[in-house]
């Protein structure tokens, strides 16, 4: 591996080693498993593992580790582990089962994922993901997930964007809910058995590193404000993505970057923060009070047709616009994938349609997703069977009936491919600290395919971490680890208490939400669907003064000794500010377009993303230096041994 010689940062860069096992791609994971160190079943109980977050990755990891015999402590800021945001995923979960004999295979899922990620993901991890995808479905069915079935009783599949096979398993429009309940039930069983201790309404506020390894975490009890330390042999962060940096997103209101960011500040590198996914099918913003955006499952694009009027300033209602005056732009631009073009491409196409003045709806801020052809072809009953609950949800929110008038949709921030840098074992740059699920960066490159987030969360938690953590723990047998009375823990607690007290002491004039909105606006305008050097420079000049204002003019009412949601929010917005700066820096330094990262300067004649493989076929992993504006950019070169780098085409 060679270091590329082109960079605009003058900092020294460390070349990161992902520790990918040698050998042919299909044998790497088997090789790893045969070579790894094991912990004897009777010795597992001597090890304490902390799992932070209880979504798909967290619940599945905690349950599996506890089943193996480790002592597990689970932390969630929710009231119950079952509330985690994995629950909101609608469409489905991919797996290379090839139950329909339509040409699917592990290799094809691997290829589709690498290509969908615009050749910016790590081959070794993605191949393993495709391999274990098959086991996930078996596992979830055994646990009682009521996946959709054919009349013969076998499992049904549907198609998703970026694939030409039907490999998506689903449970109505609530696949995430059913998978999370499945994983939660396994976790609940372990809690009931006393193998897992659950700390609910408890938020991570720091990680503690002693002698070069993660020694545990510091948490804040949201009900009492008590700050406490917890020591462990290994710590796993399954704390989700940072899409709420945009303020308006499809994330749940409490999704935040704090756990990942606090780990970053203690030495974990943060990889590719500029890779954010803007989901093409969300309900457009209706007014200024809006607190979040709601996603309509991508599966709707199986039967819905996306269009805008051909004419700028069109005033007729949708059903009175004749076919000739409609522009089915996805079918026109991408004939072979049509309405199922990948998310980044569909999102940009929608933005262009709206920017060209052809947007629809009262605020002209959406495009149509039209089911009239499907209703005519399949009948209303079939459409209702497939999408009934989504149609109902749309009607509740938008106040319009999508059986009669086309839905209006527009892209919104949805998922973040970037996250804590991890190696093949899902370990961050801090030994003993792991990141799984959306919190890590490893599998989706610059763009995630639909129905792959659930797959990755469960793959990491069920089928990767239970192996790789043992490999780390084995040599630590019977060696003492630092307790919570260690000065580093005490110092981290004092610092965290001071931080929350400081938010209360500022007594300025603006609420945390006000700052969050302002921050989100800057990030959306300059680091959203389309980025330019000029815009990013502007964002980087506006963010530090706004952050300074936050530190001087924040107002948090209430106290720190009882439940205080305003105070919780202040801590999260603080971390979003710092992350926002890093995101813009990462976007600025990546002088190419790839997947969800679209730099207007780097596009081809047809307006498609133009990668620069010579200079940017690498992961940017940022190292904390005390100031996000001066973080160091390290790289991990991506070696494509199996897949030939190609221009991504969905035409």
């Amino acid at each position: 591996m060679n270091m590329t010689d082109i960079t605009t940062t003058d900092m020294t860069r460390t070349q990161l080693n992902a520790k990918i096992p040698a050998g042919p791609i299909a044998e790497k994971w088997d090789t790893y498993k045969s070579d790894m160190k094991l912990v004897n079943p009777n010795n597992k109980r001597k090890f304490k593992v902390i799992v932070v977050g209880s979504g798909l990755a967290g619940a599945s990891a905690a349950a599996s580790l506890a089943e193996l015999g480790y002592q597990v402590d689970v932390f969630t800021f929710h009231d119950s582990p079952r509330r985690a945001h994995s629950i909101a995923a609608q469409g489905g979960i991919n797996a290379a089962k090839n139950y329909h004999g339509d040409g699917d295979s592990i290799h094809r899922l691997f290829y589709d994922t690498i290509k969908g990620g615009d050749f910016r993901a790590r081959e070794g991890n993605v191949y393993r993901l495709a391999q274990v995808s098959v086991d996930i479905i078996d596992q979830m069915v055994a646990q009682g997930v009521p996946f959709a079935r054919e009349y013969g009783g076998l499992l049904d599949n549907r198609s998703f964007g970026g694939a030409q096979v039907s490999r998506t398993f689903y449970a109505r429009g609530q696949t995430g809910q059913q998978l999370l309940l499945g994983a939660y039930q396994q976790l609940a069983r372990q809690i009931g058995l006393g193998n897992v201790r659950l700390f609910n309404r408890s938020e991570l506020v720091d990680t503690v590193v002693i002698d070069g390894r993660c020694a545990g975490i510091v948490t804040r009890d949201l009900q009492t404000g008590a700050v406490e330390s917890h020591a462990a042999h290994a710590t796993v962060l399954c704390t989700g993505g940072y899409g709420n940096v945009f303020f308006l997103s499809t994330n749940a209101m409490q999704c935040n970057v704090t756990a990942a960011w606090r780990a970053h500040r203690r030495g974990a590198y943060f990889a590719n923060p500029c890779y954010t996914q803007i989901h093409p099918t969300c309900i457009p913003q209706a007014d200024d009070t809006q607190s979040k955006l709601t996603l309509m499952s991508e599966s709707l694009r199986n039967d819905g047709r996306v269009w805008v009027p051909k004419n700028v300033g069109e005033t007729r209602p949708a059903d009175q616009i004749p076919e000739d005056d409609r522009d089915y732009y996805l079918e026109r631009l991408y004939p072979s994938f049509g309405n199922l073009a990948p998310r980044d491409i569909s999102s940009r196409a929608a933005k262009r349609a709206v920017d060209s003045g052809r947007g629809v709806g009262p605020l002209k801020n959406g495009v149509y997703l039209d089911f009239s052809a499907a209703i005519k072809r399949l009948g209303k009953d079939v459409v209702q069977e497939r999408y009934g609950n989504l149609f109902e949800m749309y009607e509740r929110i938008a106040g319009e009936n999508p059986y009669d008038v086309p839905m209006r949709i527009y892209p919104a921030s949805h998922y973040t491919m970037g996250g804590l840098w991890v190696d093949y074992e899902l370990m961050t740059t801090v030994p003993g600290l792991y990141a799984a699920g959306e919190a890590n960066f490893s599998d989706h490159g610059a763009n995630r395919l639909g129905a792959s987030a659930l797959m990755q969360g469960l793959a990491d938690g069920y089928f990767v971490l239970p192996y790789t953590i043992g490999n780390y723990l084995a040599p630590m047998l019977n060696k003492p680890i630092p307790g919570t009375d260690h000065p580093e823990f005490v110092a981290a607690e004092t610092e965290a208490r001071g931080r929350y007290q400081q938010y209360l002491n500022i007594k300025g004039t603006r609420s945390p939400d006000w700052f969050h909105r302002e921050l989100g606006k800057i990030i959306w305008d300059y680091c959203g669907m389309e980025r330019t050097e000029e815009g990013l420079q502007k964002a980087l000049s506006e963010l530090p003064p706004l952050y300074e204002e936050f530190q001087k003019d924040l107002r948090v009412t209430g106290d720190g000794e009882s439940l205080n949601q305003t105070l919780e929010k202040a801590g999260r917005v603080d971390d979003f500010f710092q992350l926002g700066m890093l995101m813009c820096r990462d976007a600025l330094e990546r002088k190419e377009s790839c997947g969800g990262h679209f730099r207007a300067e780097y596009q081809d004649d047809e307006g498609e993303a133009q990668r620069d493989d010579e200079h940017f076929a690498h992961v940017a992993a940022w190292e904390w230096t005390g100031d996000p504006m001066r973080a160091t950019r390290n790289v991990e070169e991506l070696d494509f041994e199996t897949i030939h780098l190609a221009k991504r085409s969905y035409k």
């Binding site: 089943e67 929710h78 009231d79 119950s80 079952r82 509330r83 945001h85 629950i87 909101a88 086991d135 596992q139 979830m140 069915v141 055994a142 646990q143 009682g144 009521p146 996946f147 959709a148 009349y151 013969g152 009783g153 076998l154 499992l155 449970a171 109505r172 995430g176 809910q177 059913q178 309940l181 039930q185 396994q186 609940a188 069983r189 809690i191 749940a252 209101m253 209706a286 007014d287 009070t289 607190s291 979040k292 709601t294 009262p362 949800m393 509740r396 929110i397 106040g399 069920y462 089928f463 609420s511 939400d513 006000w514 107002r555 009412t557 209430g558 009882s562 439940l563 949601q565 305003t566």
Partner: protein, 258 residues
């Protein structure tokens, strides 16, 4: 284009902590868009309170898509408010009128102690699931998913039960504070499936008896079904009762065999 509702009065339960007595306080809302969701109206109110230097109203919420089950609220005496089959977070202000007084309370049930203002502790639900709401299927070694065909109507019925979001509206709506709809949804989801048969009888016994430790008894009012944001059917309670009755005999027989 959105219209605005004007001159609303919110009567909201404020309680500083579990041991405080609590009381209603009135808050005027001069104007709010009918496109706003109910919780967005509370967001706006909270911003105003912070502006005035007052403490924001605490309420549970998260996904705002009607799926995580975190949000709650008794709105004018109805769990999740006036719109049927809809969680509070999906309720929009277009369902209300200008000039209206709206009373907002937390879930009221002995098993759900109030933490602060409108937020309650629903951990008793987790205890029920921990007692038996799972299939023992440790990670790894599961057979191929298509080895067990499941008739579509069976899978669909299981899914109908599995849609429960665990919000607690059923308990809040019940005059007895019973959790039979929640528990029966959890029991039926698994007891209907072939994979769930091995633990069918022990599951229902453990879950019902844990439920009884925390919650009131069901006397067939049916308020729970009417309040449920996912329209979970009362039929599942009948199924749970039937399974529980059978279990009491079957489990005894199994023990006798040892």
């Amino acid at each position: 284009m959105s219209n605005h509702l004007t001159n609303l009065t919110l009567k909201i339960w404020r309680q500083s902590g579990p041991n405080d007595k609590g009381a209603f306080e009135s808050y005027p809302i001069a104007s709010i868009s009918d496109e706003a969701s109910f919780l967005e109206m509370l967001d706006v109110l909270n911003e105003q309170l912070i502006d005035q230097g007052r403490e924001a109203i605490v309420f549970d919420h998260d996904c705002r898509e009607g799926i995580c089950g975190t949000c709650s609220l008794m709105i004018d005496g109805q769990a999740h408010g006036p719109q049927r089959g809809t969680a509070t977070c999906q309720l929009h202000m277009r369902k209300f009128q200008s000039g209206q007084e709206i009373v907002i309370e937390p879930w009221r049930a002995t098993a759900f102690p109030i933490i602060k203002d409108l937020m309650v502790d629903r951990a008793a639900f987790d205890r029920i699931v921990e007692a038996g709401g799972f299939i023992t299927a440790p990670t790894g070694g599961a057979p191929d998913a298509n080895l067990i065909p499941i008739a579509k109507p069976v899978a669909d019925a299981s899914m109908d039960a599995a849609e429960c979001i665990g919000c607690g509206a059923c308990v809040a709506a019940c005059p007895n504070g019973a959790a039979n709809l929640f528990t029966s949804a959890k029991v039926s989801h698994l007891n209907l499936l072939p994979q769930g048969q091995a633990e069918r009888w022990s599951r229902v016994e453990a879950m019902v008896e844990t439920m009884d430790e925390h919650f009131g008894s069901c006397t067939n009012h049916g308020e729970c079904e009417a309040a449920c944001p996912k329209n979970i059917s009362l039929d599942f309670i009948a199924m749970m009762n039937k399974d529980y009755r059978k279990a009491k005999f079957k489990n005894r027989k199994l023990i006798a065999q040892i």
